[in-house]
């Protein structure tokens, strides 16, 4: 189809603008001009030989990546320029301006022949990678040895790094983040990478170096559970603080009404009881360093009634108000860390209260290494019951070896080895992606370990702390940088036996903040039907849900009510008093009401009695 010597069409941002005799020549000319600074550096030109078309892209939103330009088999980044860079005489933007480095978009990359390393440059090369590690994103570059892990683990791993608790900012005491986590004793990782050091993440660490033994422990670390050393936890391992900030504002309403921060009077609508407001000071705000628990009021606030009141026969009565206070969330407690009172742009008062609570690692908390190896604490064991090495080293964490082969995270094991070697030698190790050769790294670490009298593969003879018996197998032991993730049981655990119900349906509420129950859905219902467990089903669907006592008129079959003043049931439809009480789900009563709203009159006929 492609005829020879066909003119090439040129497309600018996808629109046809003309044609040239040779698209290839045109593209290379355009690139030359771009490198010389005649054309903008933000233009990308690509040429498709198959279609004989040239695409010029100048629009926004293209992902572009920097490459070093290679010309005639030589990198434009010469030793001379590198020297100048090191001395700080020139910087990166200088290189971009002077045509040493250029940015390519996805389309222009199709025309590029990129050498991975300087030694790979040959006559066909057009570009050189700045570093092989640039193929990973920023987060992945904070990990170490990612090139030895399965690709599928990289997105998982970078997700976990993002969820880790650490020193996220140093001005945390002046901030009122809705929720924040701070590690008590953050550490620099024993093994880190070039990008990690360059970005100065060392000043904002996200985890701690754990001594890890790859061993099972009486079945308590099955299926990605981990075992923690209680003494290590008591020394501060993985300990963090949790900040929760509450915000409230004195809103203005039409009719010159507004909210007021104050301790509500007992006559207020929705008054929570005297004890709930006990910790407030006179201005209606809580004091600093006050211990608070679930349901305690942090900011007392009264609002005007939602609807305008009717005038009573006594004229305008006493102004009614309703309680609109901020309380500590259900299931949470802590100490009031700080309170901030300020003014909004709308000239109303705004208050922020930060509550702090210490979170010691407990069973159910989530930890992860930088290789997508997550685990939930399955048991916290006393140090004397943990396995120990011949030197008396007790691991902080026991990782189940079954989690390794199927996930193929060899980087995790390399880090264990590197962390151990580094700890013995007293210096941090380098784990920059593609910086070394796997075998050489293992040999290098092995030699370091042997120099300090350890096994070169990191294996240790372990002795069971409970029985004192030697383990039959050698156990791989090392040091890994672990992150504590912000999924913690104490923020998720919830139980309910009785509790609040929805107004409309009289059924139990849903969700943790409303102390809700767990849904007994259609499929669960079918399972009970399938088992023929009729009484259990009735208990779930009626007794534990929306049981209601309803009066039905024996005469007309309509729903009536019980008049407690006259002490008799009343049917409003036929004005009779001959009614019977039935136990029924409130949802059915609601259904009858809704059918009535459709102008259909449902009647209930009673049988027997």
């Amino acid at each position: 189809m492609a005829e020879k010597n066909r003119r090439s069409s040129i497309y600018l941002d996808g629109r046809y603008i003309g044609s040239v005799a040779s698209g290839e020549q045109f593209a290379s000319e355009a690139r030359k001009n771009r490198r010389a600074g005649i054309l903008s550096g933000e233009i990308n030109v690509s040429y498709s030989k198959k279609l004989s078309e040239v695409y010029i892209n100048t629009d926004r939103g293209r992902a572009r990546k920097p490459y070093i330009i290679v010309e005639n088999g030589a990198s434009r980044l010469t030793a001379e320029i590198e020297e100048k860079l090191k001395s700080g005489e020139i910087d990166f933007s200088y290189l971009v301006r002077k045509g040493v480095i250029e940015y390519l978009d996805a389309e222009e990359e199709e025309n590029a022949n990129v050498a991975l390393r300087p030694e790979n440059i040959d006559s066909r090369s057009t570009h050189l990678e700045i570093d092989p590690a640039t193929m990973f994103g920023l987060t992945m570059n904070l990990s170490v040895f990612p090139e030895y892990n399965s690709v599928g683990r990289h997105p998982i791993s970078s997700n976990f790094i993002k969820q880790s608790q650490g020193l996220y900012l140093t001005n945390f005491s002046r901030r009122y983040d809705p929720r924040a986590f701070l590690l008590y004793y953050p550490q620099r990782p024993m093994v880190n990478s070039q990008v990690y050091r360059t970005l100065g993440i060392e000043k904002h660490p996200t985890g701690q170096n754990f001594v890890v033994a790859m061993s099972t422990y009486y079945g308590y670390n099955m299926k990605d559970a981990i075992i923690l050393n209680r003494s290590a936890v008591e020394r501060g391992l993985g300990r963090s603080v949790f900040y929760r900030s509450y915000t409230d504002e004195e809103r203005r309403y039409p009719g010159s009404q507004q909210d007021h921060f104050k301790v509500p009077a007992p006559t207020t609508d929705g008054y929570l009881g005297e004890h709930a407001y006990a910790k407030l000071s006179e201005d209606g705000l809580i004091e600093g360093e006050m211990e608070v628990k679930e349901g305690d009021v942090l900011v007392g606030k009264v609002s005007p009634p939602r609807f305008l009141e009717e005038q009573t026969s006594f004229g305008v009565g006493e102004e009614k108000s309703r309680d609109n206070s901020v309380t500590v969330r259900s299931g949470e407690d802590g100490t009031v860390d700080n309170i901030m009172l300020s003014e909004t742009t709308g000239a109303t008062k705004i208050v922020k209260v930060r509550v702090r609570s210490a979170k010691t690692p407990e069973v159910g908390d989530k930890f992860a290494s930088r290789h997508g190896q997550k685990g939930v604490v399955g048991l916290i064991v006393d140090q004397n019951d943990m396995p120990r090495t011949k030197d008396g080293i007790v691991p902080d964490l026991l990782l189940n070896p079954h989690g390794i082969p199927s996930r193929m995270t060899f980087g995790h094991m390399l880090e264990m080895l590197g962390g151990k070697a580094g700890s013995l030698k007293g210096e941090t190790m380098d784990g920059t992606p593609f910086a070394g050769n796997g075998k050489e790294i293992v040999d290098e670490y092995g030699k370091m370990l042997e120099d300090h009298g350890f096994d070169k593969f990191g294996d240790e003879t372990l002795y069971d702390g409970r029985t004192g018996k030697k383990f039959d197998a050698q156990v791989f032991t090392g040091v890994v940088y672990y992150n504590r993730l912000w999924h913690m049981v104490s923020l998720k655990l919830q139980v309910r036996s009785r509790g609040p119900v929805q107004i409309l349906t009289h059924q139990p509420t849903e969700g943790k903040p409303r102390k809700g129950g767990l849904k007994f859905g259609e499929m669960e219902r079918d399972a009970l039907v399938g088992h023929g467990a009729s009484l259990l089903l009735k208990e779930r669907m009626l007794d534990q849900s929306d049981k209601a006592e309803i009066w039905i008129c024996n005469n007309c079959g309509d729903v009536g009510y019980y008049d407690y003043i006259k002490n008799t049931p009343v049917c409003q439809a036929c004005e009779g008093h001959d009614l019977s009480m039935i136990e029924i789900s409130y949802a059915f009563k609601l259904l009858l009401d809704e059918i009535k709203s459709m102008h259909i009159l449902p009647k209930v006929k009673m049988k027997g009695e």
């Binding site: 219902r525 079918d526 399972a527 039907v529 399938g530 088992h531 023929g532 467990a533 009729s534 009484l535 089903l537 009735k538 669907m541 009626l542 929306d546 049981k547 136990e583 029924i584 789900s585 949802a587 059915f588 259904l591 059918i595 459709m598 259909i600 009159l601 006929k605």
Partner: protein, 346 residues
């Protein structure tokens, strides 16, 4: 079957067989993939498989996406390839367009010249004369033999569009074979006997062909089978098709569940689907129907006709919060009045 097995497999009174059947089939069919794969290069008839076929059967579609038949031969015929081949020739629906070598259309005179392929004619054992006689039976068409070609002319001149339709109709005229059967293949059993599989089905016509075993004709269209053999045969067909479809996916569901579903679909005498136009839509209870689909429609119709709900079914009783009449709710304790007297006397 031993006594212990008998008690083990006997369904207890009050067992929720329908729910259990639904769960048993439903659980397995989540394993099925919607997309089906076709093996290329194997001489076989294309059929729907997997979940789409299951849905087709349960929804009681009037015609399957790929209707097929398996036709067994009579005793004296089944092992003789030549005789089976004769029957096969009678089966495949041969149209004029599949015999043509070349067609010359003239819209000015509303006539066309069809050159027939002598190889194809002899393959189907047909003559050009037979084709002409078929064509002349068409309304408003004159056909005559002209050497190796057939001259066809529309009797009335009606403009290009009408002529075009006539031409298409002429080419679509079937010359021989059974209408509806697009393709037939002769296949061999393990014991050396032959049978024929087809794509497309027409049971009525196939049964008229001599040499076909009247008891060995199988179609995968339940409605066709119900029309000819009755609803019991259709029930067996539905159950069998469901079972083989599930088995082909490497899954196992007890036949009792499938049989129950097929029974529920056919016990009224016609084939009903399992959805809102069938089993679920024919329920006696207004509340049960309204709880499934098209709630408002059912309530309005119920009010128009003054329907009564006896509150006997499972769905209604769960809705109002009564104990359901299944399983443990099936059994009631009944005491005779005389017995109460006797007890109180003691």
């Amino acid at each position: 079957m031993s006594e212990t097995e008998k008690t083990q497999f006997t369904v207890v009174p009050g067992e929720a067989v329908g729910t259990v059947a639904a769960q048993s089939i439903g659980e397995q069919s989540t394993q099925m993939i919607l997309r089906t794969f076709h093996a290329a290069g194997i001489a076989s008839v294309v059929t729907t498989k997997g979940l789409p076929r299951l849905i087709e059967l349960i929804d009681a579609r009037k015609k399957p996406k790929f209707p097929t038949m398996q036709i067994s031969m009579e005793k004296g015929v089944e092992s003789k390839y030549e005789k089976v081949r004769d029957i096969w020739r009678k089966l495949e629906d041969v149209k004029v367009k599949s015999l043509k070598l070349n067609v010359d259309e003239d819209f000015r005179t509303s006539s066309m010249v069809i050159t027939l392929d002598p190889e194809k004619l002899s393959f189907f054992e047909l003559t050009a004369r037979q084709v002409v006689s078929k064509l002349s039976k068409l309304e408003g068409v004159e056909a005559e033999l002209d050497g190796g070609a057939i001259k066809v002319k529309a009797k009335k001149k009606e403009g290009i569009k009408a002529t075009r339709t006539t031409f298409v109709n002429i080419l679509d005229t079937s010359v021989s074979g059974v209408p509806g059967i697009n393709k037939a293949l002769i296949q061999q059993n393990d014991d050396g006997t032959y049978y024929i599989t087809t794509s497309g089905s027409n049971m009525e016509e196939v049964l008229k062909i001599d040499g076909v075993d009247k008891k060995g004709v199988y179609s995968n269209n339940p409605f066709e089978v119900a029309r000819i053999y009755g609803v019991e045969a259709a029930r067996n067909l539905i159950a069998n098709e469901l079972l083989t479809t599930i088995k082909e996916e490497g899954l196992t569901v007890s036949f009792r569940h499938i049989g129950l579903l097929a029974d529920a679909m056919t016990y009224t005498g016609t084939i009903r689907s399992a959805g809102r136009h069938g089993i679920a839509g024919d329920k006696d209870s207004v509340l049960a129907r309204a709880a499934y689909e098209e709630t408002v429609k059912h309530f309005i119709n119920a009010s128009v006709f003054g329907e009564k709900d006896q509150l006997k079914g499972v769905a209604e009783n769960i809705l109002i919060g009564k104990q359901i009449g299944l399983g443990t709710g099936r059994i009631k304790l009944a005491v005779k009045k005389e017995d109460i007297k006797k007890l109180s006397e003691k």
